[in-house]
């Protein structure tokens, strides 16, 4: 089978979605098929740029290449799933969220743009039509399926995928830090963690690893650390190698991961693979599909006070942290999360 995975890429921004797309292509090839990634640069501002990219996508012809039929396309992200194809399957990473669940949230930007409402409407109209074209609809997580049902009344099934290099994770004795690997992004809520640190009773330390989406976010977080006089307890590593990432996971007490309504969140699964508990929040979305409160991690309220209590708890009680981490690992192993399963369903 000749298969194309369709996704978008914001130039110089790299995160879980990119890893997932690459993992998908590798896994399809590993299953004996030909596969390639079609990645289209994406820009969402001003609002009209979104319309431009919808039109561009819809005008692509991916039914064949050099005279040879393309048997299947797998749509991952808006607006690439608008590309027409008779054998289109959706494995939705997320929709254009500022047109849906984030529209009137503090994170919504489309609502703040001139002509935002009609662009939003164009997105929802086109989405509905595109979903009708798909032979089957899957998502990367239950949280994404929930949104799809809520906003588009579309039924879908989640298929979980393993993180990149899942077999490489390991666990070592904990050192004195929590680990928070993620792009520095307002939705990931590094700020909440820093504010929580200021309220912990113990001298909790956090290591952040990940590139910032923009200078303003990075500078804002560093300024906040200075204002709260937390320089000795916060480390920003920026982008790190895979080896260092595995090592940081292995040596952490726990992973702190409190994003706002994450789609899926490889970080949670990576923590489980490294036998580390996860501290997350009630509104963190995808991580809640894996973290069981006081069994594989702690789930707090999305406030600095509540998060600080959770962090103090595991900082002060390393034995419990270790136990929760082990339970997380066991839970991961029981869930049959594999690329083979993903490929089998998407190519069925």
């Amino acid at each position: 089978m000749r298969v194309l995975a369709l996704t978008t890429q914001v130039p110089f921004v790299r995160g879980g979605a990119e890893l997932l797309a690459e993992g998908l292509v590798r896994s399809i090839e590993a299953a004996g098929h030909e596969a390639e990634l079609v990645s289209i640069p994406f820009k969402w501002y001003p609002a009209e740029r979104v319309l431009d990219q919808m039109l561009i996508c819809r005008l692509f012809d991916l039914t064949e290449a050099c005279g040879d039929k393309i048997d299947r396309v797998i749509g991952l992200k808006f607006p690439t799933y608008l590309i027409p194809h008779p054998n289109k399957v959706l494995w939705l990473v997320h929709q254009h969220r500022t047109a849906y669940d984030l529209w009137d949230s503090p994170y919504g930007d489309l609502i703040k743009m001139p002509n935002g409402p009609q662009v939003r409407q164009a997105i929802t109209n086109a989405d509905s039509q595109a979903f009708n074209e798909c032979r089957s609809i899957y998502t990367i997580a239950g949280n994404v399926s929930k949104r799809l049902k809520q906003f588009n009344n579309v039924d879908s099934a989640p298929i979980y995928s393993p993180p990149f290099g899942a077999e490489d994770f390991y666990c070592e004795a904990a050192e004195d830090f929590f680990f928070f690997p993620s792009r520095l992004n307002i939705m990931k809520r590094q700020q909440l963690v820093i504010e929580a640190l200021a309220q912990t009773k113990s001298p909790v330390k956090v290591v952040f690893a990940g590139k910032s989406d923009d200078d303003a976010t990075r500078n804002g977080l560093k300024n906040l650390v200075r204002q709260l006089q937390l320089e000795s307890r916060v480390t920003f590593l920026d982008a790190i190698s895979e080896t260092e990432k595995l090592s940081r996971y292995a040596k952490s007490i726990a992973v702190v991961y409190p994003p706002l309504d994450e789609d899926y969140g490889y970080v949670t699964l990576e923590a489980m693979l490294a036998s580390k508990p996860v501290i997350t929040c009630h509104d963190s979305g995808g991580s809640l599909e894996f973290v069981l409160n006081e069994t594989t991690g702690l789930i707090s309220e999305p406030t600095p006070e509540s998060l600080a209590i959770a962090m103090d708890t595991l900082w002060d009680d390393r034995a419990t942290a270790k136990q929760l981490g082990q339970s997380g690992y066991d839970r991961y192993m029981s869930m049959n999360i594999s690329w083979a399963n993903v490929v089998q369903k998407l190519l069925a």
């Binding site: 039109l55 819809r58 935002g116 409407q121 086109a126 509905s128």
Partner: protein
């Protein structure tokens, strides 16, 4: 329901601000209304019924405008009152209420006077109306021809480029805009409040008092009125009072002198509302001519009717749409002759004119209530709620046309064009296209 209302407001000297003063309280019965203005002062009475927000067209909270049920934009010809409103309407779609169908004065003001971009103005006229129109526009800018030469290049579509729907006050405007088949369009008579008449009409006997009021520009035909009166044998049976700012006082005063009308004509200049209302209540006949018309419905005429006053109007545009037993028509090409005939008829049958004024007031009460106007806006809001797809369709069409034009579009195959057309059609989801506003009227035929 939340509605944002953009309009000139009192104390600005715009008839549309008087409409706002009456419509906003009525609208507030049905919706939470926020009135937006770029003026530095506004009517305190209006602030009793709606929140009033000041805005800078270059620094607006788009979120507040996006997160609402309907934005209502009142667009007329005065650049001072409508430039900012037009700028916002270009960025956030909504219901555009077109007060003047010919908006040449507005866009001349925006591009040439404020923008100091004469070449841009000519380019825009050429693009929309062709090469010859561009030449005329250039001649107008160089002073070779008056603005009347370009008034027929109405520029209305420029005002409506981002409109989700259009509301007009005249049947002629309705037909004209509906013909474009681009926007949902509704016809709703202009609103004007009708308090009880406190004063009885004056005795129907000479001297008959004639009144002209408003902004007195060339299209108010005052020179023709003065000529008709000056050459009328029984002119001593009339007294003409002119209220309002004169665009060309020398011309008016010259006519008064030329026709020896000093005893019959008094020019008062701008007066406040109370003085004008007293004058209207004491008058026998109002003269409310417009030629050419910019396609407006006349707020002055509604004010005249509020006083149950008969009126002479030019037989064009909205004025021509009025029933013959309610107004006296003056044909543009026979102004002097027609005015004199009507004056003679007033002397002969004053009661007939008095009855005509009463019918005018009845028409005002039955057709022009602020409540009906407010309800029409609410219906638009309800029916537009499902969508603005037509605007994105238009955007895509223009994008494609813009991209293809330099690629020698004439050589593109029908197949290529079909594919693009089908793609835009697919994206636009035509099954959900909003239709015309049925509860108000449809675009297929003229409203009755």
């Amino acid at each position: 329901m939340r509605i944002n209302y953009f309009s000139p407001l009192l104390p600005s000297q715009s008839g549309i601000s008087e409409v706002a003063e009456q419509v906003v309280p009525a609208l507030s019965q049905y919706a939470t209304v926020t009135v937006w203005t770029d003026q530095t002062e506004w009517s305190q009475a209006l602030a009793q019924s709606a929140k009033i927000r000041q805005y800078d067209p270059n620094d607006v909270s788009w979120r507040e405008l996006n997160d609402t049920d309907l934005n209502v934009y009142h667009i007329g010809n005065n650049v001072h009152f409508h430039h900012g409103i037009w700028q916002i309407s270009n960025r956030v779609p909504g219901l555009v209420v077109v007060h003047d169908v010919k908006l040449q004065h507005l866009f001349y003001g925006i591009t040439c006077v404020r923008g100091r971009d004469g070449e841009g103005y000519i380019r825009e006229i050429s693009r929309r109306y062709g090469h010859e129109a561009g030449i005329t526009a250039r001649r107008f800018l160089s002073g070779e021809v008056p603005i009347a030469a370009v008034e027929d290049f109405s520029m209305t579509e420029w005002a409506l480029e981002n409109a989700a729907a259009v509301m007009v006050h005249t049947r002629t405007a309705f037909q004209q805009i509906a013909q474009a088949d681009r926007w949902p369009v509704g016809y709703q008579p202009l609103a004007f409040h009708t308090p009880p008449i406190l004063r009885e009409r004056p005795r129907q006997a000479p001297p008959y008092r004639l009144v002209i009021f408003g902004y007195i520009a060339y299209n108010r035909r005052v020179e023709a009125v003065l000529e008709a009166l000056g050459k009328f044998a029984q002119r001593r049976k009339f007294q003409l009072d002119i209220y309002g700012k004169l665009d060309d006082p020398d011309s008016i005063n010259g006519c008064i002198q030329q026709f020896n009308l000093k005893a019959q004509v008094k020019v008062h200049g701008f007066v406040d509302d109370a003085v004008l209302d007293r004058a209207l209540s004491e008058a026998h006949l109002a003269i409310n001519l417009r030629y050419p018309t910019m396609g407006e419905a006349s707020i002055s005429q509604l004010r005249i009717w509020r006083h149950a006053l008969p009126a002479l109007v030019t037989q064009v545009g909205w004025y021509a749409e009025q029933p013959e037993d309610i107004v006296c028509f003056v044909r543009p090409e026979h102004e002097v002759e027609d005015i004199q005939q009507h004056l003679a008829a007033l002397i002969k049958q004053p009661e007939h004119f008095r009855a005509m004024g009463q019918r005018g007031r009845q028409r005002l009460e039955s057709m022009h209530s602020p409540d009906a106007y407010a309800q029409a806006i609410v219906r638009f809001a309800a029916q537009l709620k499902p969508g603005y797809q037509n605007l994105t369709t238009q955007y895509w069409l223009e994008q494609v046309a813009g991209i293809m034009a330099p690629w020698q579009a004439g050589e593109l195959s029908d197949r290529d064009l079909d594919r693009v057309t089908q793609t835009i059609s697919w994206l636009s989801h035509p099954t959900n296209q909003p239709g015309n506003i049925d509860s108000i009227t449809s675009t297929k035929k003229s409203p009755r």
